[in-house]
């Protein structure tokens, strides 16, 4: 079967790629697009390691067909920092040791970013429920939740 040709925007750049009809967006990112920052922990939508933004909506890229990217905007972990300048969440994760092995980190950051865009002042409970789709087996989530809450506060203060 011939491959499908997809034109899309990834991290602000126009991109084209070829894929099989049943390839997931995660397959395309990690394969032809070479963006291996999104991870595959389960391929079933249960771990969140593959989290990306599709037109600003948080999705599991393992549950999305890559052909669906046609004409849409995708954001991945690779697009989170502004050149050399880390996103405040990235910086805070480092300062607060909110990662151990780091395999969940891309997904955690993308998901947390999506949360703060929607809700700049989340409660601990809101952070916990928002991140409930992102498994971390290393940290017990404590430092991740704290890092998200502190970043939210810093970002609010920076805006005021």
């Amino acid at each position: 079967m011939a491959k499908l040709h997809v034109s899309t925007t990834i991290n602000g750049e126009p991109m084209e790629f070829l894929c099989e009809p049943n390839d997931t967006m995660l397959d395309a990112l990690r394969g032809p697009l070479g963006l291996t920052g999104s991870k595959e922990g389960c391929a079933s939508g249960d771990c969140g390691a593959c989290s990306i933004l599709l037109d600003d909506r948080l999705v599991c890229s393992c549950l999305m067909l890559s052909a669906e990217a046609q004409g849409h905007e995708i954001r991945t972990i690779e697009g989170m920092a502004d050149g050399e300048k880390l996103h405040p969440l990235q910086q805070k994760f480092l300062e607060m040791a909110a990662l151990q092995c780091g395999i969940c980190t891309s997904g955690m950051l993308v998901a947390s970013d999506a949360l703060l865009k929607k809700n700049p002042q989340p409660s601990e409970e809101e952070v916990r429920f928002w991140l409930a789709g992102n498994l971390c087996r290393c940290t017990g989530y404590d430092k991740i939740v704290r890092a998200v809450l502190e970043t939210a506060q810093d970002m609010r203060e920076a805006r005021n």
């Binding site: 079933s44 409970e125 409930a132 087996r137 290393c138």
Partner: protein
Amino acid sequence: MNVITNNKWIGQRTIRPDGVDKVTGRAAFAADTTMPGMIWGKILRSPHPHARIKSIDTSKALALPGVKAVVTARDIVDFPVDKSVMLGIQDMRWMCRNVMAREKALFPGHPVAAVAATTEAIAAKACELIEVDYEVLPWAIEIDDALKADAPILHEFNKFEGKPSNIAGKLEVKKGDIAQGFKEAEVVIERTFTTRPVHQGYIEPHACLISVAADNKTTIWSSSQGQFMVRAMTSYLTGIPQSDIRAIPAEIGGGFGGKTIVYLEPLATLLAKKSGRPVKMVMTREEVMRATGPTSGSKSTVKIGAKKDGTIVAAQGTFYLQAGALPGSPIRGAVGCSFSPYDIPNVLSVGYDVLSNRSKVAAYRAPGAPIGAFAVECVMDELASALKMDPLELRLKNAARQGTKAAHGPVFPRIGYVETLEAAKAHPHYAAPLGKLQGRGVASGFWFNAGGESSAQVNITEDGNVVVTTGHPDIGGSRAAIANVCAELLGIDYRQVSVLIGDTATVGFSNLTGGSRVLFASAMVVTQSTEKVITTLRERAAKIWEIDPEAVKWENGAAHPASPNAGQFEPLTLAELAAKAPQMGGPIGAGVQLNTEGAEGGFGTHICDVEVDVELGIVRVIRYTAVQDVGRAVHPGYVEGQMQGGVAQGIGWALNEEYIYNKDGKVDNPGFLDYRMPVCSDLPMIDTVMVEVPNPKHPQGVKGVGEVPLVPVMAAVANAVHHALGKRFYSLPMSPPKVLAALEAEG
């Protein structure tokens, strides 16, 4: 209790050297690499729990266009069952049969053949074309079934007390006279407990990419808890000499013990050798759940006897641990650690290694110890209430201290167990009020910790910075702690120190990342290497100043003339000495290789509050405090992280995690949806108290910290549930159906 002061970097929450890579997606984990010409490997797995393999016909698979190679057990070096060949704690007889079924398939998911093809889809299709003729045999999954008189025997060659048996080993630890001890007891509690096998649950599935040249020169790119283990096991199983194999450690996405053995590397190596192409293999989550890890399920009976004043006089434990389909459950941890927090004159602790048709167990965080501690610490709780004593008081009264001879042999040096109990008692958590249907439990735990072989190289770059290479995969921030140690000794900014994990060709032999040994061992070799470098730097300065090297001291990143020459010369900085290196004797660097000794065991005491939803049967942990004797927290953030992560895993083990087997002897929940690990909304913040009693046998006082925090958790949760409901669960997990059934039975 911060006993070492005046440190600039030790004890600081510095940014880890690999941090930016990990928050930007740049870090390369095992599945993130490709090679030109790479093809894909897939595994055909047994659908049966137990079946003799009569024949395997691979001809149709090989004929499929795109298929480049097929391997079966015949291609793997055989280790006959009658002769043990040990590699560390692993017996190659079992490793060779675990990576690929040989005489029999022993569990559903056991590899039977592997295929490499140009695409994953073709490789998967080829697997379906392989014809295996099985003679299906009766099977046993649970301990009781495997121990029945007429149980199907997994290995005819395995004998126990002279008869074919599913008991593959027995371990006994004895101290004093157990019968006499119980005679002296005034209160005796004896209970039986069961726990279920639980998976390590690392989020990164096993993966590797391997190329083999025509002359056998092999490059392995994989994530594991030890590149040297990968090299050795692959060498043993493929026959390629270790010197021809270069194992490169990828970043590792969690291990917890589960990546201390190989599954894919030998198969991918053989496929790459046969096909002449680099071969990539990545497990699916389902394969991870069916065929790797977990830790043992168990059945334990523990009996403890005490005087009325709370003095424990005798303790006995019998621990049956599931090995899975091949011998090797962690009975040593259950038998050896369970009673170690206490000074008990008479102890008998016995463990049995039980075979059954499940995947072979792998190490999981303090292997065996949490299983034993669950039983012992629940009995301690019952004993405390029988004696009308506070449970921490009972532990304090019997606590192991400096000079106590542990049941498993050693005499403890200065340890911090008592301090953990005292800190727990004094913690506001312990006195906080509880609401309706809420309860509080405490429990303690011990883990041996390990030393062993480590190598490091410390090199000064021409511009006066530092590159440290060690040999242990970093799973939880160990590079950050090593940078702190090296920067402290050199008196420079920690950001000047790059810490890398070398591959098997670039750094000396280093044993696994396991046993909570990495920082203990690597800080030791890095310290000695750095000290050698400092000696060289002082010699260079002495040469330049034309004074005696003894008259040069190293301080704040520079050589200074010491008395009687103090003040005579301007200090020479690291950068200045590095720049002068070519003229003054050449490159500056030093390596040290050691079999490190002096790893001391660690202790933890935990406090857990739960609330039970009696409608839904859900137990929620609402507050948790972990106190641990951590030696010296070189990087407190990552020490706390180990403690918090261990607690979270323990809560999963206590409340939800288990494999559900169906009537065909297969796991019905091989994914994250139904194998329910704690998610963010399941947990509270996890408070940590680091008690720092420095290890007297380590230059920085380091003690392993990674495994202890899992040991007490299940008992702390069970004791809390008992306190909330007045009802004790002797079997894990305390999942909603079980809790509801227990509440209903009560009426």
